[in-house]
């Protein structure tokens, strides 16, 4: 493989307008970021404000010409930090209230099958409630496709700790579904 010496980076913002670029990234990532904020326990009303702040910071950073090498990890990290600040002001953690009526087995859709699946999912919900917030966050970010080092960067812990959080969380879930 040929070797090269780096001359200059052309930031992505030079190819597209900063506004357009941020809007595009927003469109691609907003659901995941918003879900993560709610997962952190940020109330829905405040999650909107935090979301605005996250993308405003992205705009500022991009406009400064700083290159973000891993956009998803960067956004999750900013959302994580802002979300924790908001949560610190909140007195109580607000857990997600599952909408069980939405849960319909997509293959059979029979009431009995749905009931069995709901029972299984309710066991998962109970297991999730028993996890620490860090364990839940690691699980969520893992599901979003982040690698351990990225999760570690978002949460501010080491990769081996991410592994340990995930081990405990997944083992608890496995126990809940397998008995």
């Amino acid at each position: 493989m040929q070797e090269f010496a780096l001359l200059i980076d052309i930031p992505i913002a030079r190819v597209m307008g900063v506004d357009d670029e941020v809007e595009q990234i927003y469109g691609e990532t907003r659901k995941a970021i918003c879900a993560y904020l709610l997962c952190l326990g940020v109330p829905a009303s405040q999650a909107q404000e935090v979301m605005q702040e996250v993308y405003l910071r992205l705009y500022q950073t991009t406009r400064k010409g700083e290159i973000i090498h891993n956009m998803r990890a960067w956004l999750f990290r900013v959302a994580h930090n802002l979300g924790l600040k908001v949560r610190a002001r909140e007195r109580s953690f607000r857990a997600v209230n599952p909408d069980w009526d939405r849960f319909v087995h997509p293959v059979t859709e029979s009431p009995e099958r749905t009931m069995l699946d709901r029972e299984r999912m309710s066991r998962v919900a109970v297991a999730l409630e028993s996890l620490s917030p860090q364990q839940r966050n690691c699980l969520y970010l893992r599901s979003e496709g982040l690698r351990y080092r990225e999760i570690a960067e978002v949460i501010g812990i080491s990769s081996s700790t991410v592994n340990e959080f995930l081990r405990r969380a997944i083992a608890r879930l496995a126990e809940a579904v397998n008995g």
Partner: protein, 539 residues
Amino acid sequence: MDKTTHMSDADLILFTDQEMRADSATKAERHLNVCADCRKRLNDLRSGAAAYEEYRQQILKPAFGSAATDWDAIRDRLAKEKSRKRSFWFEPAMLWAGAALAFGLIVFILYLQRSSRPEVTELLTKAAAVPESTRGAVLLTVGGHHWLRPAVFRGGESAVAVPAGERFTVQHVHALFVEAHYSWEDPLSARSFAVWRYQLPQKQDEVTLIRGVDGKRRFYRVKTRTAAGILRTASLTLQADTYRATTAAFEFQGEDPVELSEQSVEGAGTARQEVQENSARHPKVTETRAGPEDELRVFAALNAIGADAEEPIDVKLDAKRQHVLVTGMGMPPARQKEVENALAELPNTIVHFNSAVPGRNAAPNNEKPDTYTADSRSPFRQSLETRAGGPGQLQTITDRALDTSNAMFAQAHSLLVLAQEFPPNVELGLRGSDRETLLGLRQRHVGAIEYAVWQLRDELNPLLEGEPAQGSPPHNSKNSSWQGSAEELFEAARNLNELVSRLLAGSNAEQAGGEMLNQLPSDLSKLEELIRAQSAAER
């Protein structure tokens, strides 16, 4: 790590998430091949992770869906931010600094214009227009191994000359490209890069101007990142003066990096010769279009090793009908190897395994529940225990019957897949020997279903004693073709499987449970009728 030292849960999770170092992963894989205990724990952990994924998709996402803020609100804040920035620059104290900055900016823009760095689309468009006639060989590098291949495969030929022992690696890389919708025929080209990039729903581009090691030649490197699909990052290096593609790098999710580099002009002749020599040494697997007969051979090979039922394996023709794609999810490494070996010699076949646990659509809903939610205190459960001869006996019956019922359902699903993949018009187009193969596969599935139903009757007999022998009215199949009859049979098998699960693993009130018990003989009879109809269906 040897046979006697078990893997820790942390290592099993690292292995599942492909976070292990390559050498450790190889050792772990070797260990899992010989250690049933670790394999079981691995599967348990994977089922836990899969349950979370299901919960996230079904419960969390809908609950979170409506909370995202509107872009308009962010745009308003951006507008305020810009106006705040402008007022800052119009401060008198900043005017001189602003003028100096503007001057510097003009110089910078002039510099950039001189260096003529175009944007991504423009770059790729220009590069795609470069003639291909002079392109020779390409060096493919994966995990420290190198292979030479022609830059472009033409006329349906798509093989890389490789020793037999390394064929799996190249086949695997080939499968990755196919799955990522990135041209394997012409991977080191701006056109292929642009086609792949264009179909991405979301992406992030980066253009870098770089200099060759000689310090003179300049190159553009276009890098596109995406969270969609398995190909997460691809970069293409183009000569700045000719826009000719010289190298490419690909990062597939959880895979070793794949690199391609054009051979130097001087070396191209040698490389072409080497490709030819390699080809002579290692006979190529030349490929034509794949058809139903190829798919059928895959089914037959899987059947021979018992992998066409109760395994999370999917077989289908790709969209271009060039390959039979065999994908497996969440299978133990040892089983993956067995499948790979069974399919190794089949033409036009690409095998790809995903370490993730199988999704809901990957296989019939035939999970074997390890625990049951039955309420042992309910009167109905107690009456079943009495019929069975005690709680222990009932548990044994439950375990066996659920296993048998799941196996029966999996076989019915496999028969349905055959019926769907080989409808009457496709079957008619098969050669005689292929039709015999198809018939053999059908008969094996029908035989397995028949045996399972017989076994189920036997296992459930203690519970059915004393029940009126309520046979179902004779069931006349609406379908004369075996394909149509297979769909009816699948429906009946699914109903019976659900009934058995609800009866034995559910918490039932006495009346509802009694009705299920009454229904069981007629559901069994109906399925037996359909099995007979399937056997009698014209060939």
